[in-house]
Amino acid sequence: MKTELSEKDLELISKSLDEDLSEFERRRLNQNVLTTEEGEKAWMRYYAVSAVMNKQFPENIDKDFSQKILDVINNDEYIEDDTNHPTIKRVGLHLKQVAGLAVAASVAAVSIVTFQNFNQPSLTGSPEIIVSEQKTEAPNIPVQVNTPPAVKPRMSPIEVPQVEFAPAQLSSQDVLGEQPFAQEDSYSQELDPYIQNHAGYGSERTISPYVDIIELKDVQK
């Protein structure tokens, strides 16, 4: 876009050099003047004069100095914009959907396997329990399905035989291996006064482990 600049436009550039622009003028400069080719060139020339006067103008400078930089950074932009290409976007969206489905499918598979494992009867039980019932749907034809009484549906609750646990019996060898009781007693003798002296400092919760030891001592006695 090549348009002739008015005197007012050039004055805006001059004021910009001296940081003397009002907000309105600044907007006008950026939106109306510096968006034109002539405006950009005048902007560059004004700064060149300022650099020459301040002895800051380099010995030799390429007239296309800024254009070369612009070419490189526009090339950067092109590379960045590749990620916004419609094909890449579509593939990305598709991949996202596939990944979502894969996650959902794996979660479902894990849930089913876990559920089946929970309902799997014990192998020690009757082999009849494993047999699953086949459902037949034939409402119009009367069919009599003879289900053996021992066969139970796979999804039904399983009757777990009641197990009676025998109370654990601790022997001195279980706790201390081959060590004699004498050593155990020496520990207790050290601990007892400690517990008595320190019981007042802590809550019951704090000293409860020692209570267990006393009980053990009682059992041993």
């Binding site: 940081e19 060139k41 700064y47 020459v52 030799n60 930089i69 612009l70 932009e77």
Partner: protein, 190 residues
């Protein structure tokens, strides 16, 4: 003449991907940056290093928080680029080997490679002569106003006091001086 709001706007636009806005910053500071870099490296290489510095600045613009002025930030990048270039050049010299990659020192060497012809280069001596000739040819009031502003760095208020005239007159005199110089250098630069 407070802080540079126009630079802030150009930086904000460049950050948003407006390369034309960054181009305006380059056009504004290119002379100062090349001149700065040429204090560290030879003048033939200064331009390449300065271009690389501007490209680095553009790529690192997202990290520029705006705590300092754009030029202060740019100044540091330019100096670091020049120092890195010197370091790299000394390493290559000590290697004492001819490497084809030497020609590709910069990542963007292909795009920045110097293929300029002499008529494409602005000769500073020629430009200087034109500018100072134009200043000498200015009426005294314009000459004084532009000299006090550019060479002495005085504010409009200070110039108004010195020249015993309103600020508006100072502004106008400075602009008319610049306009007269611009007319002289325009054929040389375009």
């Amino acid at each position: 003449m407070g802080e540079n709001n126009n630079d802030k706007e150009l930086v904000a636009r460049a950050k948003a991907g407006d390369t034309r806005a960054f181009d305006l910053l380059v056009k504004k500071y290119q002379y100062k940056v090349v001149n700065l870099v040429s204090r560290y490296v030879r003048s033939e290489e200064a331009q390449d290093v300065a271009q690389e510095a501007f490209i680095k600045a553009y790529r690192g613009l997202k990290n520029f928080r705006g705590d300092s002025a754009f030029y202060t930030w740019m100044y540091r990048i330019a100096v670091n680029s020049a120092k890195n270039y010197l370091l790299s050049a000394s390493r290559r010299q000590s290697d004492n080997q001819v490497d084809v990659d030497d020609a590709e020192y910069f990542d963007d060497a292909a795009l920045l490679r110097d293929n300029t012809t002499p008529d494409h280069v602005l000769q500073s001596s020629e430009l200087e002569t034109k500018v100072f000739d134009a200043i000498h040819g200015l009426p005294d009031d314009l000459k004084m106003a532009i000299t006090l502003r550019e060479l002495e760095g005085m504010s409009y208020e200070q110039i108004a006091d010195a020249m015993e005239c309103p600020i508006g007159t100072v502004r106008s005199r400075i602009f008319r001086a610049r306009e007269a110089i611009d007319k002289v250098i325009k054929p040389l630069m375009d």
